[in-house]
């Protein structure tokens, strides 16, 4: 009898692990790197020159193997096991592995040879964390996966550079992140209290059966706390405060990572706990209905606060941080709209499309900063870019492309992304949805101001006397920049294939 139970348990475990093979591969690489790295560094902290290239190649290899395995998998029906591999999980895994590779390229030369292994390992575990967020089928699993993103992030912020600004940034992120994790966990516990299970499928089933209805207050508290906890990851107002300070102080690759990766995890987690529709005798509802007025305000506030404060920034990373806040607002528009559209793209489809597009353009913009970065001189204020069109015309052109895309101008993917969001919001036909569309359009206009100002600085202002030569160490950044540029243009020219993938979700 007990044999049967044990073999049954082993079988279940095998089946569960089978759903997360790519993540296991990535995490195995992480373990390998953490264990072996100390042996390759001397006691004084010196490493053989060029060691970072090996770690970079290993990270890329690991991601490629994971990607290969991922390509071989296909979505499976959801059970009550610990993991799930539905269309969304499959899609998000592809997105995070792809952009993970771009981030590996960006991180390549950020840390010195001695700390490269740990830095890359942190990045890999963050990527695995994103995958697991999408694959988690349990509130506990979801929380652990989110922490698998957060905790390595603290290291990732500090490892490459340990000067005062980086320390300050790390400390701020650390404290506020813990605070938000606490809120999230608090919300999850209330949800558990209301429905009596931590398994997502069981929760849906319980809500389906009307278990939550006698205790709406419990559910409201749960939703509010979870939204607050996850909004931190989305950098939605008023949970965005860390972003500008951290982006400014953190190394370039960490800022790039923070602008994008937590947003994927946040939106997926938000979708998992709130947005899955539940059918209650004759009517369809979901927890999102509780939260949508709240999220409506979060979206509008994020758009406005992000854009208005970005206008005042002189530091380019702070500007990009506020731009990241405003883009969180745009994407929240898609989330709020959800499936409540008639014809045209649904809000979720538009959100997922925008997420991919945003990844390409924001990582591209940070890649440009990485390319321009030199040991003796960091690009900090926008004025540092003056005259770039003369010194480095190709780089200036690509930055212009990314900024055009962030603004939402054709011929870039950002245009299609904003257009889809707008159409989705307008297609609701409700007053609140159409107001969202209007605020989106207004904010796109305000955004144009500060993005175009950067372009103006690059093209119209005279170059400083000291010409900046190309940095030989920047090759991986160049590659990342080129990949992002191709994606930004390609998703405008042929968005069909991505759209087909998204529509399966």
């Amino acid at each position: 009898m007990s044999d049967l139970v044990i073999s049954d348990a082993v079988q279940q475990l095998n089946r569960a692990i089978g759903l997360i093979v790519p993540d296991v591969i990535v995490l195995a690489t992480v373990c390998l790197m953490f264990f072996s790295a100390p042996f390759l560094v001397s006691e004084k902290g010196e490493a053989p020159a060029g060691l970072r290239h090996r770690w970079g190649w290993l990270s890329l290899l690991s991601l490629m193997v994971a990607g290969y395995v991922w390509w071989g998998t296909s979505p499976e029906p959801v059970t009550t096991g610990p993991f799930r591999l539905d269309e969304l999980a499959w899609f998000i895994r592809g997105v995070s592995l792809t952009f993970g590779a771009v981030l590996v390229l960006l991180t390549w030369n950020q840390a010195d040879d001695a700390r490269s292994a740990e830095t890359q390992a942190c990045l890999l575990s963050i990527i695995a964390g994103v995958n697991l967020v999408a694959a988690a089928n349990d509130l506990v699993g979801l929380f652990v996966a989110l922490e698998l993103i957060s905790i390595p992030t603290y290291l990732f912020l500090l490892l490459p550079r340990r000067d005062a600004p980086a320390q300050e940034a790390t400390m701020k992120y650390f404290m506020l992140s813990i605070f938000s994790s606490g809120m999230l966990l608090f919300g999850m516990s209330y949800l558990y209290g209301a429905v009596g299970s931590t398994n997502l499928e069981a929760i849906y089933a319980a809500l389906n059966a009307g278990r939550g209805q006698p205790m709406p207050i419990l559910l409201v508290v749960a939703v509010m706390m979870m939204v607050a906890g996850l909004a931190f990851r989305l950098t939605a107002v008023p949970f965005h405060f860390y972003a500008p300070d951290v982006f400014q102080g953190a190394p370039n690759s960490a800022a790039a990572m923070l602008s994008f990766i937590p947003k994927i995890a946040g939106f997926v987690a938000l979708y998992r706990v709130l947005a899955v529709p539940v059918v209650v005798v004759g009517q369809e509802w979901s927890l999102a209905q509780f939260s949508s007025p709240l999220l409506w305000w979060l979206a509008v506030l994020s758009m406005f606060v992000g854009n208005l404060l970005a206008l005042l920034q002189t530091d380019i990373r702070r500007m990009l941080a506020f731009s990241s806040v405003s883009h969180a607002g745009y994407m929240l528009v898609g989330f709020v709209v959800g499936t409540a559209t008639t014809g045209g793209p649904t809000g979720f489809e538009a959100l997922l499309f925008y997420l991919v597009v945003y990844g390409a353009m924001t990582l591209g913009a940070f890649a440009v900063l990485g390319v321009l970065q030199r040991p003796d001189r960091r690009i900090e204020s926008i004025d540092d870019l003056a005259g770039l069109s003369r010194n480095r015309p190709a780089v200036a052109l690509l930055l212009t492309l990314f900024l055009f895309s962030l603004t939402g101008l054709p011929p870039t993917a950002g245009f299609l992304g904003k257009l889809n969001l707008f159409l989705a919001a307008w297609g609701t036909g409700t007053e609140s949805g159409q107001w969202l569309a209007i605020w989106l359009a207004v904010n796109a206009t305000i955004g144009a101001w500060y993005y175009l100002r950067v372009i103006g600085t690059m093209y119209l202002q005279p170059a400083p006397a000291v010409a900046t030569a190309a940095d030989n160490n920047a090759t991986p950044s160049y590659l990342a920049m080129a990949l992002c540029a191709i994606a930004t243009l390609a998703l405008f020219a042929v968005p069909g294939w991505l759209w087909a993938l998204i529509q399966r979700v």
Partner: protein
């Protein structure tokens, strides 16, 4: 080979110059700059041979087709699929290139549509890039490619040593491509696209020496004045679209009864369409009141004047009206306007040409005047469209055909004069060039005789036929008086044409030999690259009318154009022939009387009398336009600018301040203190919580 050529000759005609242009753009401006004319000449030779092949072999093969299978036409169309790129039907050959764009109408249809389905799809729009050649296009193409080829060869000598040599040939071949595509367009939209493209090429070529302010201004003037005409054309195309539901020539012109129905049902709209199309033609063909750009366009290099502003581009307007003859046929009123405008233009331009001192300007005004002739001919059908439309179109097209050759030789000879005189073209500064420039002299004389309508030369046959058709129109009962006046104008213009042509000829080539200092010691005559095209064109100017006019070769060929109304043949009009001979010889004699024994360069007096000044300044039309159109518009623009600056800008600046102000209000919260951040997060959480709980209890 032959069947391949039959299928592909159509696209080869425009493709060859396009490739030449691309070569120059991509590589020719760096490699072998001095030889930039070679790819263009090669491309034009290919084009020319293809056009000849099209004229003599491909298009005639469709003629019997028309007669025998007219009834089966509708059935055949159904079999035409997208894959079948090449097709011969209804007197025209077509070559389908690709679907430009497709807008579906109200009723859902499968995406792959046959032509028939496309037609059925009301409200939808399907624009195919398709080449279509019938008899009229084939004749136009031969004319365009022949003249272009000769002009390109001439230019290879004329433009030699110019720093923009490759640019010149790039623009030239682009122009030939656009002109061929204009003629080959199978629908109005495609026609409009290349209508604009030739306008653009004209701009590029007029402003070729853009560092000269006058050339830049002339290019701008040509472009802007043309825009006015193009505006009319595009409105006309819109109206055709709303009226007929299609823009395809084959569908609009295929069925005369359909056009007649529309014309009867909505006569005002129909007339408006015709007049709007004609406005387009007025702009492009430099008719009154939009003719002012053409004389200024002489700022461009002379081969350009010969090619674009005499032989090809300006004929596009005539081609458009001739192409739309099945439409104009049902609107006698529009045709009468066409005739009136043509007559006015012919007269005004001829009067102006009488006193010009610039040799090229004389030719430019004579071009305007001759284009007016062509429109008079087209408009002559207004008296009795049933019977006169066919001769009217035939003779207009025929005059265009002969005019292309003799005007090209005149311009090129003038270019040769300029070349020899060190770019001096003012007839007061040289004379008696007969002995110094014998080749130029003889070819100019041939062109001048043809233009003056000397018996048996090209201009004689075509001008005579225009007079004949006007004479027929003048005999009609209803509008006889109107057309009698126009006939009188035409005769008067013929007289003046002969006079001013020979005035220019005598001033330039006769009298004592005088050279301007710019010419150097020994003015050299045209080198072979310039002389050969001159000889060929001169021969054409002398003979081509005789070869194709009285033998009716041209006319009979043109009658195969689908949609052309058929009419009984007309015999030669002896009265008009006699009159025009008398007028031509009278004009030449008159010129000889006044200028035959002039005393060299100093012999030309300044235009002193008011009448001469009136003529010299082009009836003060430019000044009139400046006073009536340009000045009021400029004042309006100034008012608008003030409004923009004082009101709009202030509002915009004011609005732009708001985000900044709001931003600075928000800014203090972002103060860098982590405990504040946590506190505000907590506040947000609390506010959200309170709000949500309240809304929950508020609405249980």
């Amino acid at each position: 080979m032959v069947s391949w050529l039959n299928d592909n000759v159509l696209w080869l005609i425009p493709a060859a110059p396009l490739l030449a242009c691309l070569w120059i753009v991509v590589a020719g401006q760096f490699l072998r700059r001095e030889k930039a004319h070679q790819p263009v000449v090669l491309g034009l030779i290919i084009s020319w041979l293809c056009a000849l092949y099209l004229l003599f072999s491909v298009v005639p093969s469709t003629f019997e087709h028309t007669a025998e299978h007219a009834d089966e036409h509708a059935a055949e169309v159904k079999d035409v699929h997208h894959e079948e790129r090449h097709a011969a039907k209804g007197g025209a050959v077509t070559y389908y290139v690709y679907d430009w764009f497709s807008v579906r109408g109200g009723n859902e249809q499968p995406t792959t549509m046959t032509e028939d389905q496309a037609r059925a799809d009301a409200g939808g729009m399907h624009v195919r890039v398709e080449l279509r050649a019938d008899a009229m296009s084939a004749l136009m193409l031969v004319m365009v490619t022949t003249v272009s080829l000769l002009v390109a060869i001439f230019a290879s000598g004329y433009m030699h040593g110019d720093p923009g040599y490759p640019r010149f040939f790039g623009a030239l071949s682009l122009f030939v491509f656009s002109m061929c595509m204009l003629v080959l367009a199978s629908n109005f939209l495609l026609l409009f696209v290349f209508w604009e493209a030739v306008g653009l090429c004209s701009y590029l070529l007029i402003g070729f020496w853009f560092h000269k302010p006058s050339a830049a201004a002339a290019a701008k003037k040509a472009f802007v004045v043309n825009r006015i005409g193009d505006f009319g054309l595009i409105l006309g195309i819109f109206m055709i679209w709303t009226t007929f539901g299609t823009l395809e020539f084959s569908q609009i012109f295929a069925d005369p009864t359909l056009i007649a129905q529309v014309a009867i049902a909505q006569p005002e709209i129909f007339t408006t369409i015709c007049l709007l199309l004609f406005i387009g033609a007025v702009g492009k063909s430099a008719q009154f009141p939009l003719h002012v750009w053409l004389p200024d366009a002489m700022e461009g290099p002379t081969p350009v004047s010969a090619l674009i502003h005499a032989a090809t581009m300006v004929t596009a307007g005539v081609y458009l009206v001739a192409r739309c003859a099945p439409l104009f046929m049902h609107s006698p009123f529009a045709l009468q306007i066409v005739a009136g405008i043509g007559a006015a233009t012919a007269l005004i331009a001829a009067i102006t040409a009488l006193t010009q001192n610039d040799l090229k300007r004389v030719l430019a005004y004579s071009t305007v005047s001759q284009l007016g002739y062509m429109f008079m001919s087209l408009g002559a059908a207004g008296a009795d469209p049933e019977h006169l439309m066919q001769p009217a179109v035939t003779y207009a097209m025929f005059h265009m055909f002969t005019h292309a050759f003799f005007k090209a030789v005149l311009f090129l000879s003038a270019g040769s004069v300029m070349h020899a005189m060190g770019d001096v073209i003012d007839m007061r500064r040289f004379s008696g060039l007969r002995t110094a420039l014998p080749i130029t002299w003889i070819t100019f004389l041939a062109g001048a005789l043809a233009l003056a309508g000397f018996p048996l030369l090209s201009g004689f046959w075509s001008k005579d036929e225009i007079l004949a058709v006007l004479h027929m129109a003048a005999q009609s009962k209803e509008h006889g008086t109107y057309y009698t006046v126009i006939l009188g104008v035409a005769l008067l213009t013929a007289l003046m044409t002969a006079f001013y042509t020979f005035r220019a000829y005598l001033l330039t080539f006769h009298g004592p030999e005088v050279f301007p200092p710019e010419a150097g010691h020994h003015p050299h005559d045209a080198p072979p690259a310039m002389a050969i095209p001159l000889y060929i064109l001169a021969a054409a100017a002398l003979l081509i009318g005789l070869a194709t006019g009285p033998t009716h070769l041209y006319g009979h060929y043109l009658h195969h154009t689908p949609g052309m109304p058929s009419a009984p043949a007309h015999g030669p009009d002896w009265l008009m022939m006699m009159l025009s001979t008398i007028l031509a010889i009278g004009g030449i004699a008159g010129a000889h009387l006044v200028y035959g024994s002039h005393r060299g360069a100093a012999g030309v007096k300044d235009n002193a009398s008011p009448l001469q000044k009136f003529s010299f300044n082009g009836l003060y039309l430019d000044e009139l336009y400046i006073a009536l159109v340009v000045k009021p518009l400029r004042s309006l623009a100034e008012v608008c600018e003030m409004f923009d600056r004082m009101v709009i800008d202030q509002i915009v600046d004011g609005v732009a301040l708001i985000p900044g102000i709001v931003g600075s209000i928000l800014r203090p919260i972002q103060n860098g203190l982590v405990q504040h951040y946590a506190f505000v997060m907590l506040l947000g959480l609390a506010a959200g919580m309170v709000w949500m709980l309240q809304s929950l209890t508020g609405s249980p």
